[in-house]
Amino acid sequence: MAKHFLLCFEAHQPHRLGRIRFWDGEVSFWESYNNEVLGRVSSKCYLKANSMLLDEDTLRGGFSISGSLLEQLEETGRTDVLEGFSKLFDSGRFEPIGETYHHSLSSLVDSSEFLEQVGMHRSAVNRLFGVTPKVFVNTELIFSRRIIPKISGAGYRTVFAEGAPTLLRGRNPNMVYSVSGVRVLIRNNALSDDIGFRFSDKSWSEYPLTADKYASWVERSPGDLVTVYIDYETFGEHHPVESGVFEFARHLGRELASRGVKMLTPSEAAEALGQSGELEADEYTSWADVEKDLSAWLSNEMQREAFEAIYKLEAPVKNTGNPALLREWRLLTESDHLYYCSTKAQSAEVHLYFNPYKNPYTAFINLSNAIHIISKKVGYSEVKPYETQ
């Protein structure tokens, strides 16, 4: 029965694009909406959850906070939120987790951009919080054997992966595995989604979920370590404060402790537990959608076209040596832009809940036009963002 519990949060907010025209001269961002969302999640989620986690000293865990979010918090003067994170890291009970600065899909591209973004993120975390991440999570838990050399090349020896059937092939998610010498912590998707998705679902047979009940499920889980990784916005944004999600978390540490289950930080988990064998990890897995693969970002022709067009601009943009242009291009590498182009939901489901345009086509046209504008700026006519015929 599991004796260890690892609780991790992902905090990220993208730079949503404005309604950009093909003939515009500049890439514009939807500042009013970006600020509105940032303000709302800061007050409803980040501030309250930070102070709850700080007060409740039975809780331990990890945080991946994207560079995109960190810089938006800095730009809008939300030092209260940043200080909250800082105090959590100072307490030693929580530690930062490394990721790509812009929550990008750069791990899928054969270039140095991944290395640069991981480095940028490590520097930002170090500058703001005075600590250095020791474990790594790739964007939306995208994982495969193919990106292991990049992860170890970036200096990380431990990484998170989704407990997808294609990765585990029937093995127990509550164990630590390895791939090419890198430790792999497996996200338990059922126990994660119980909090992340189902917590406030009144039609769920287990509703309402109490810390007591949940802790008993963890205790009864076979294996060494139950890893739960959820959006930080679970608190107060995905589930409103009235749902009781804060109270749930407040009691969780004690309920686990009373059952002899110990909460760990990510590096404690990486150090304390042995590895139970090698995973093949030949296919790409992630925590997205029911498919748990890359299809949330790269399943239709629009997504593949935009993805290729973005990374074709990498070298020309870097060749200009223009930092402002490079930053603008990097904002387009945020995976959210491709996620919004998904046509999987043909009605208001998960994709459209997160899609500010409520429509994949508007999202794609904005993104394409942004790509077109950057192409014009670098004078890159040889390869157009669109087809070349």
Partner: protein, 365 residues
């Protein structure tokens, strides 16, 4: 059922609707007497009893070609009142305003419930530009004297609520018959097309205005298949904007030629000011062509895989036209998913839902 036209002598969607609807109603066991004026030739269908009204002064003798529309309507209503046979009739179903005066009177005289289907109103047809008050008055009479009113979209339901003051309206969408062709090659054509009557209602002038930017940015062209009262205005505006040769008015084209342009275009555009339904949208999408459609087009309210815009926002329209001609990914995705989505619309569903309204009326609901 009171109609106006019927295949094979058809001007617009009303005739197709009448045929597709009655063919299915008969299969549910409904007996239909279909009243219509004899204009041009007679229907060849045999499933229902056609009660053709012979007009005198409004048509030429021998060929029955329509001479004067207004006097034909008046004569049709007068003769309907005389010729109508109420024996065994449970419902009078009137399509649009043309036979409305007779329908309302006969419904009241014989105590037979009246169902009306509003396919379009005078406001739609005029695009709000000098609507004829006398026609709106007849429409109002029909709408307020019907036991049940059916519209072909929520958009049209809202028109009737707002301008005619009745809100208990049933929406029954039209079906469509897929064209015998499917676009499979999505390589760039640098061309968008318009299909339909070139009238103010369809908003062709907004497409010409948007074409300015579209042609400048892409070097593409806009092709109009169809003809109508706005031909001159569209041509004049194209000339004024320096778009001769880029905006092409082909006039009337037969089905073969239209099929050719459907496969040789990147998108179908309908900038209608107020289109109650828009069967051509489904025909184009059903053939795999991406559709760019105004928000004031009824069918678009039920479609997800279309590009929608405000008909007056010609910058937005231009940007959508550019996007679709520049991106194969966009064309392919819209084409594929749009085609799948059109299967939501069928004449069977239309007939079933109309029949459900009949049953409620007969049951006194």
């Amino acid at each position: 059922m009171f109609g106006w036209e019927y295949p094979p002598h058809v001007v617009g969607g009303l005739g197709v609707h009448s045929a597709e609807l009655t063919r299915r109603l008969v299969s549910y066991g409904v007996e239909v007497d279909f009243y219509k004026p004899k204009i041009d030739g007679s229907p060849t269908d045999k499933h229902i009893r056609f009660m053709e009204i012979l007009l005198g002064g409004a048509v030429t003798p021998d060929s029955y070609t329509l001479k004067d529309f207004n006097s034909a309507v008046a004569e049709y209503n007068t003769k309907l009142r005389e010729k109508f046979d109420p024996i065994g009739v449970s419902i009078i179903h009137c399509h649009d305003w043309i036979a409305a005066e007779a329908a309302v009177e006969l419904s009241q005289r014989h105590g037979i419930p009246l169902v009306s289907t509003i396919h379009s109103t005078e406001l739609d047809r005029s695009a709000f530009f000098y609507p004829q008050k006398w026609i709106m008055d007849i429409e109002r009479t029909l709408i307020h004297n019907s036991t049940k009113v059916i519209t072909v979209s929520k958009h049209e339901k809202e028109m009737i609520r707002r301008y005619y003051g009745r809100s208990d309206i049933r929406v029954v969408y039209n079906g469509f018959n897929p064209l015998p062709l499917v676009k499979s090659d999505y390589s760039k054509r640098n061309r968008v097309m318009f299909i339909g009557r070139v009238t103010a209602q369809k908003g062709p002038i907004f497409l010409v205005k948007a074409a300015k930017r579209f042609c400048e940015e892409t070097g593409g062209e806009v092709v109009f298949c169809g003809t109508g009262s706005s031909d001159f205005e569209v041509r004049a505006e194209a000339t004024r904007l320096g778009l001769e040769g880029k905006v092409r008015l082909l006039g009337y084209v037969d089905n073969n030629e239209m099929g050719y342009w459907l496969t040789q275009s990147d998108a179908y555009v309908l900038p209608a000011v107020s289109e109650p339904f828009g069967i051509t949208v489904l025909e184009a999408m059903g053939a795999g062509l991406p559709a760019i459609v105004s928000k004031t087009t009824g069918v678009a309210e039920e479609l997800f895989n279309v590009l929608r815009f405000d008909y007056w926002d010609t910058d937005e329209l231009a940007d959508l036209m550019i996007a679709v001609t520049q991106s194969r990914g966009l064309r392919f995705t819209l084409g594929l998913l749009g085609r799948v989505e059109t299967s939501k619309f069928s004449w069977s569903r239309c007939a079933e839902e109309t029949y459900a309204v009949y049953k409620e009326v007969v049951a006194g609901g």
